[in-house]
């Protein structure tokens, strides 16, 4: 199952100008490729979530610059590029009583990919594999 678990880099960031740029710049300097990212904001602070090709190096680099970094386990699903593609994935997880905490999508070489943070990673992978929707292996990214 662990081959399907993808490590997202989560960075604590105050909502002040230049923080996102500083993160992107630091990763670029290390030639770390950002495959996808999203920003979640609350009252005065946020979390930058990034899917990168070399998570350990990203963790190290950002940590050494003083950023507060954590790994978050996420999963990735290829979406059928047709109406109802998103609904199907949501339904599979819903039927398995799994909550989606957040998700973000990106379009890569493999087509549209949905990144999912769920409350029960192992059960989610199992449900997706059993349903035939499939779950992408982490080696596809990292």
């Amino acid at each position: 199952m662990d081959t399907y678990v993808i490590r997202q880099v989560s960075v604590f960031s105050e909502n002040r100008p230049g923080r996102l740029a500083a993160i992107a710049r630091a990763l670029q300097d290390e030639k770390i490729n950002i495959l996808a990212f999203s920003i979640a904001e609350a009252d005065g602070f946020g979390v930058v979530r990034a899917l990168v090709d070399r998570p350990d190096r990203a963790f190290e680099t950002l940590g050494s610059l003083g950023f507060n970094v954590a790994f978050t386990d996420v999963i990735a699903v290829k979406m059928r590029d047709e109406p109802g593609g998103l609904y199907e994935i949501a339904r599979i997880l819903g039927d398995a009583q799994i909550n989606i905490e957040y998700s973000y999508a990106y379009s890569g070489k493999e087509g549209a990919v949905l990144i999912l943070r769920v409350d029960d990673v192992q059960s989610a992978i199992q449900a997706l594999l059993e349903s035939g929707a499939g779950s992408m292996e982490s080696s596809a990214f990292q």
Binding site: Q8, S10, F12, S13, E14, A40, E41, A42, D43, G44, F45, G46, V47, R49, G66, F67, N68, V69, A70, F71, T72, E101
Partner: protein
């Protein structure tokens, strides 16, 4: 254990009779001080106007600056030939403050120290190492004579040469130490370096600077002592004014010698029990240098609950200085209260900054606090939970709604010496 059980456990009626008698006497003796003659005259108060203890609130305050202005002997109420000792307190600016003692004053002071030490279980069987400055500072000689009075074996080691201090503790079988909490921390470090377990120690008396409960836990663990908080100031003899008993829930202040008021430092109004404010003391048993309503500048409160040890009302541990107080929407807030709250929340650091603004005629307080690196899970929801927790804990303590901003670890200013954590932007509005 009591040093003087009768006086330490007077009934409330006996105590107030004694206090009133002594207050009247104090009012007579301050007539020998020009400053008070003028003050009382301009306030239109004659000694006979003071009929009850409540009348003390009619008397003028005495401030630290008044004492400085009286340099050197302006506040002595007896001729210099009756003054048998002088101490001074160092001023950060200008002249020091001079305090004087008659023979009776020294006896009274030693008696108070003896009460404190006996209260926490020090006896003539103890070996006491007094690791504070013995010069003009009151801490050295003050404790020295009190400890001799109870018959402990006193080692006047004073400060410095920590390795030698540790050797003496081990070689002389020292059981009780007195020093500042920061020196105690240093002592623990050096003892650990020397691989010396300080096995004989059992009691630590710490004072002269504020220290937290977490510091107490650490000192107790590292030194193998039970730690007690000691409070005093030179203007009120020195150390020994108030002291923790074995319950260690607040400090017993000696009401037969000190008439205590807690006031709002801004309005001067008297606070009720359980309300924090500035400690104002009228000493009741000082001959050489009697004072009226001395503004200590220290923030505390009279505690509502009695103590199972049988002694009278306690004050809370000092939580700050009145100069640092902020008034937010009419509520008094001390930066130390904020620090205290943050220290108890593991998810955030103890550094903080406070910003005060006036928005739509309302005071708004914003507190920046660093997230603790170890507690960042990567989830926004967890951060929000931490933020709400800080807001709630602050509201419970300050009785005030605040805005809390979580900031990145290591980004808030660090201060050496006196911290400037409050930025009040209401000025000029």
């Amino acid at each position: 254990m009591f040093w003087n059980q009768k006086i330490e456990t007077l009934t409330p009626a006996e105590l107030s009779d004694l206090q009133l008698k002594r207050l009247k006497k104090t009012l007579e003796s301050v007539q020998n001080v020009e400053f008070y003659q003028k003050q009382l005259k301009s306030a239109g108060i004659k000694p006979r106007d003071i009929r009850t203890l409540d009348d003390v609130s009619r008397l003028p305050f005495t401030r630290k600056q008044d004492l400085r202005d009286g340099y050197p002997f302006g506040f002595f109420a007896v001729p210099l030939r009756e003054v048998v000792r002088i101490h001074t307190t160092s001023g950060t600016t200008g002249k020091p403050t001079v305090v004087g003692y008659t023979r009776n004053d020294l006896a009274t002071w030693a008696d108070l120290i003896a009460r404190n030490m006996t209260m926490v279980g020090v006896t003539e069987d103890d070996v006491f190492q007094n690791m504070v400055n013995y010069g003009m500072f009151t801490g050295g000689l003050g404790f020295h004579y009190g400890a001799e009075a109870i018959g402990a074996t006193v080692i006047p080691s004073a400060t410095g040469n920590t390795r030698r201090q540790i050797e003496m503790i081990n070689d002389f079988g020292v059981t009780v130490i007195h020093c500042t909490p920061s020196y105690a921390m240093h002592l623990a470090e050096v003892a650990e370096e020397m691989d010396s377990p300080l096995e004989s120690l059992r009691i630590g008396l710490f004072g002269a600077e504020p220290w937290s409960d977490s510091m107490r836990t650490e000192l107790e663990k590292r030194l193998g002592v039970t730690a007690y908080d000691s409070y005093g100031l030179s203007e009120l003899f020195g150390p020994g004014v108030a002291f923790e008993c074995q319950e260690r829930e607040g400090l017993h202040i000696w009401h037969d010698c000190y008439l205590v008021e807690i006031i709002d430092p801004v309005t001067g109004e008297v606070c009720g029990d359980g309300e924090r404010g500035e400690l104002v003391v009228t000493p009741l048993a000082k001959e050489a240098m009697p004072l009226l309503r001395y503004r200590t500048g220290d923030i505390t409160m009279l505690m509502e609950d009695g103590c199972i040890c049988g002694r009278a009302k306690k004050i809370a541990r000092i939580t700050g200085r009145s100069d640092d107080m902020l008034v937010i929407r009419g509520i008094n807030v001390f930066p130390s209260q904020i620090e205290h709250v943050l220290l108890q929340i593991a998810e955030v650091g103890s550094q903080f900054m406070v910003y005060v603004d006036r928005i739509n005629h309302l005071d708004e307080m914003t507190i920046d606090v660093e997230i603790n690196r170890e507690y960042f899970s990567g989830e926004l929801a967890d951060l929000s939970r931490i933020q709400k927790k800080v807001v709630k804990e602050l509201r419970d303590t300050l009785e005030l709604r605040t805005t809390v901003r979580l900031v990145e670890p290591g980004t808030l200013p660090r201060f050496e010496g006196k911290a400037k954590r409050v930025i009040d932007r209401r000025n000029g509005l």
